[in-house]
Symmetry: C2
Subunit: 311 residues, 2 copies
């Protein structure tokens, strides 16, 4: 991976994504005693950064592969992103989802043209179904986070942020499956001489933090966090990048996530999902390190059920 390659990825996906705005808040700057620049992927198509990686992964398929479609398992933002990215490129998308997934998520996928394949709950069931679709349809499997093309696509959010503000000291990103974090690290390494990347992670699902210590991919025993996008674990494609280059992983408690979420909603006037609030919660917790610095925060998405808020 080098800078021209990442630049090429960005140019490739540009027609299919929004260049999202970077917002600031004087009040939050005062609170942090730092200058904070929020890269607002909640305004991205399908409401999350996942659109970047999904689009890039499909664009990189051969014509033959494209004709047979793509398949993934996700009940979250990647399901919607792959569905719309595929639709934009005239490719069929099969989305393996647990049959008990919320109807609102299913209808969002259908709305973007994805074909839902229902499966039982649990990792085995969904992987089994995804393999079946690959065999039956010849569809290409695209992993939501542990896939090089997906990681390179996710890198473009931080590339844009660094194009707009090239003197950031730190970028904070949430870590769940690790695709966004690994991509952000690649962007910082190749598009800045000084910018370091810090991850925010809920204490309740601190598999990435423990993986850094043990040197191998750890999993979570529970999924008891409001940040539902961060319950997954790292993979062999993104973990080496994270292990080598991440500056730190800052863990945050659930009440810190909710406080951060509320601050962003009330002060920035934007709707973000709890996983996004984890990155800003880490900023608030790292007060000493960030004082008087210039900080980027990747607001990963804004898909949240407004009738079920923690306030």
């Amino acid at each position: 991976m080098d800078k021209p390659t990442l630049q090429k990825v960005h140019n490739l996906i540009k027609p299919y994504i929004h260049r999202t705005p970077v917002l600031t808040s004087e009040l939050l700057n005062e609170l942090c005693e730092a200058e904070v620049f929020f890269k607002c992927e909640n305004f991205q198509k399908t409401g999350a950064f996942k659109m970047r990686g999904a689009t890039h992964a499909i664009l990189n398929l051969t014509k033959e592969q494209k004709s047979k479609g793509v398949v993934t398992h996700s009940s979250g933002n990647f399901a919607q992103a792959l569905s719309l990215a595929a639709k934009n490129l005239n490719v069929k998308a099969y989305i393996v989802m647990p049959e008990n997934a919320p109807e609102v998520k299913k209808s969002a996928v259908r709305g973007y043209g994805g074909v839902i394949i229902e499966c039982g709950s649990g990792v085995n069931a969904r992987e089994h179904e995804a393999v079946r679709i690959q065999k039956e349809k010849g569809a290409t499997f695209i992993h939501p986070s542990n896939d090089d093309d997906v990681i390179y696509g996710q890198a473009t959010a931080a590339i844009e942020l660094l194009e707009d503000y090239n003197d950031l000291n730190y970028i904070f990103a949430p870590v769940g499956g690790g695709g966004l974090l690994a991509g952000t690290i690649l962007a910082a390494n190749h598009f800045s001489d000084t910018c370091k990347v810090i991850a925010g992670e809920p204490f309740e699902v601190d598999d990435a933090y423990r993986s850094l210590i043990s040197g191998r991919i750890e999993k979570n025993k529970t999924s008891n966090t409001i940040a539902d996008g961060l319950r997954t674990y790292l993979g062999d494609r993104n973990f080496p990048i994270i292990k080598e280059h991440v500056e730190d992983i800052t863990r945050v408690e659930e009440d810190e996530i909710i406080k951060s979420l509320r601050l962003i909603w009330e002060r920035m006037k934007i709707v973000v999902e709890p996983s996004s609030a984890v990155a800003f919660a880490a900023v608030l917790k790292d007060k000493k390190r960030i004082r008087n610095k210039r900080i980027g925060v990747i607001i990963s998405g804004g898909n949240v059920d407004v009738s079920n808020l923690p306030f």
Copy 2:
């Protein structure tokens, strides 16, 4: 009032306000079968358009007047706006508020440097206190909506919108006290050859609608609407402008306001207050008239208690 004067007002207040972004949503365009451009005053300083009029009103005072301060009665967005506008211009702001106003509103005013004068509830009590402060301190009274300088200041939101998109067919704005609506009308008349202005108003407080019919300023018997910023009535400075030039006033039911609010939150990913949702609810209701047209919507503000939502 002419175009150069309004342009001068805009130039005068520019250093003290944000030029707020105009956002769009493909999905909401599809839903409306029109192109809708949201002028996002929820991102304005103090979270509402009121900052524009408050700043202009203070800038237009004499040096002598400035030295003695300003006074208003408001427990809503104008209280915060006048406090911050005054602070920015080194002027003292006295804000008459009912003693039972929510603590969060009082602390917001204090945070912006306003001096709170508590009064009993009811129109008489607050007017009495405001007169007392004028006499005692020599402060200049600035009405939240029925004041020429305030109206001209509020006009600048639509001026910016028309600078960005000069071919709009309609601009929709909410009507409460009438300052924003009158200002929007002035902007449309002087900065566009074709753009007409339509107001959105809750059925529950449809004083402006009834005033148009009767030809005199009507009041409301109840204040039973979620759009708490629109419970006030018109005044003798703004009503003549509205009466002569408004294209229409579209009334909306409470459930239509809530549906509009939720659509904006979930689809646009922005936090707006119910009064703002009234304007978009009117767009949704006026489907025939707006089909295939280019529509501006003034999102008036985003100050809302997220722990007390109607979803």
